[in-house]
Point group: C2
């Protein structure tokens, strides 16, 4: 079967022939429809994030997949069902976090991540997955269901942010998303669909005309250009915000976000920064602001099957124009390299292995 890999010797994605995997009892053989590409994939390809499976020189790419059950073996799934796989699997014996259904909360070193770190991903004609790492999707999501994974990541961050404020009567009204990549735009879209955030902002560093700015404004949000209005200036230029969602991985944002918050606000950090950057911060002022204004910061990574189910509901309820606008390219395996090209107008791309 076709599979798209990166190898230790060749740091560009290549199409290779791999044997079709055989499902064992308890696992499911899935015929892949589409697999999305995101910033993490580019880091995996560049070798700055993740790693190869043990004893392997190649890694099958892809962690944002949708497919159709080809062989359910003895599981609760039926052939033909639409499914999306979660990303983490135990590295060795499952830890209690896996037993509790929350591998997303597991400690580094206790898991592999399919298509990212230590385990082959889903960019192949077929893949297998344990049934408990698969979530059924409604038929309406056949086209855009590969967005379930990134939407689930945003769902989890929003859940953690709201939970952090659940000890008191909190009535957020405004939110700011840092980043207008696909994860930032999906987070913004989820917030726009919620009742509790009337006023939305999204920060980027692009000039008009730009398709992401069009999406931001069509969602009813205000675009903020970080080149003219840095994060720390947002309260003065616009307003202090109840929630910040950091979706760029730019490390200074994690600290500036504290200043952008209204009293009792929360900053959720989704973007993963590179290691090793040391810089000055107004340390005691940030600490003071956290304490005296009851602010919170929550980090959030990955997502579990529960978040995938919530994401499927969310995705099914998002307006059609939105996914059409965010998904700027779906490329079949013959043209797979186009899915890994970052263009001025590209937002989210996917490789298509098959159609329903």
């Amino acid at each position: 079967m076709d599979a798209i890999v990166v190898s230790k010797a060749d740091r560009t994605p290549r199409l290779v022939d791999r044997p079709r995997p055989d499902p064992t009892p308890g696992s499911v053989l899935v015929r892949t429809l589409r697999v999305g590409v995101d910033g993490t994939d580019h880091e995996v390809i560049a070798g700055t994030h993740g790693g190869f499976p043990e004893d392997a020189d190649e890694l099958v790419l892809g962690h944002e997949a949708i497919g159709v059950v080809a062989d359910p073996t003895d599981t609760r799934f039926s052939a033909g069902q639409l499914v999306a796989p979660t990303v983490r699997r135990p590295r060795g014996d499952p830890t209690p976090q896996f037993d509790r259904g929350q591998p997303d909360m597991a400690a580094p070193g206790t898991y592999v991540e399919r298509g990212i770190d230590g385990a082959d991903g889903f960019m192949a004609d077929y893949f297998t997955s344990p049934a408990d790492a698969l979530v059924a999707l409604p038929d309406s999501l056949a086209a855009h269901g590969f967005l379930t994974e990134p939407v689930s990541v945003a769902e989890k961050a929003i859940e953690l942010a709201l939970a952090s404020r659940s000890a008191f009567d909190w009535r957020p009204d405004s939110a700011l998303v840092l980043g207008n990549g696909s994860l930032g735009l999906l987070t913004l879209a989820i917030l726009a669909a919620r009742d509790d955030t009337e006023t939305l902002y999204c920060l980027g560093r692009r000039s008009r005309p730009d398709p992401t700015i069009d999406i931001i404004e069509r969602l009813g949000a205000t675009y903020i250009d970080s080149r003219t209005t840095p994060v720390a200036d947002i309260p003065a230029a616009h307003q202090p915000v109840d929630m910040v969602y950091e979706a760029t991985g730019h490390a200074k944002h994690a600290f500036d976000a504290i200043d952008a918050l209204a009293p009792a606000g929360v900053a959720a950090l989704l973007g993963v920064p590179a290691a090793g950057w040391t810089f000055e911060v107004p340390g005691s002022d940030l600490h003071r602001s956290l304490v005296l204004e009851n602010k919170a910061v929550v980090g959030s990574v990955n997502s579990n099957a529960r978040h995938f189910r919530a994401a499927a509901d969310t995705l099914a309820a998002l307006p059609d124009w939105l996914c059409d606008a965010i998904v700027t390219g779906v490329h079949d395996t013959a043209a797979f390299a186009d899915a890994f090209r970052d263009g001025e107008t590209s937002i989210k791309t996917a490789v298509q292995f098959d159609t329903r």
Copy 2:
């Protein structure tokens, strides 16, 4: 009546004569028993925190009070009842946070704090308070009930910390308190009384023999000397911890605490740092650790009537030896200055205005 004030002209506490206040309907006249002294009082006296009431050159000190209802007017209280007052009152018209019973979540500028900022405190033979800012205490707390305020501050921080982890199945086992002052020790005592924290640490910078180290060890916790084991070294020297409670206001602790956390852990910040200290941090590593390990940081200040009620229950259940060990001096008004002296062996002091 007797009152203990600090004045713009004289930055040492003085005993003065003040007229006894008259309660208006809806408010209660309280005969003061004891008022505690904490670090905030010392900052108020030094002029580094808080401020005088509008148009006044003197501030009555004290925000940790217990007293007896002298005149309940038309309120739900009865004469003779033991009560503790909360600290914040509206500055001008009450904001929605006051209407919701959570002045502790109010924005700076919308409140005054009795004995701290813009309103006279409780260090007087009598004070008045709106009934909704008073909490009834059981008779058993007549001696140590002035600790209700600091215990309520710790209760709130613990509540916010736990809430921040409530979106998933979290099973904390270890906690680290930074600071062995009275707030740190009370926080440690509350954690020791809970079922969910088997392993406790408390960090200070004192040498044995020391009464705070004795308390820490009698509570079953391990004392960590920050001069030999800085916060960031605690995971290697002891273990990564599920919770950190920062009760010193030392700004670097707020950042080092992130490194001390186990995956999915939370750092609660209670101590209030001075403003204006800028320093270098391993910014992207901290950001990365927050995200990849799902860590949280929550700031917490003040407390509301609900936290006072929880604190009264907590305080009533603490072992007798503990409050006896923490309260190192109760001084009557004739010797009030002793309550403001910080000695090697003093932990928590109070001024006694009257006895039950």
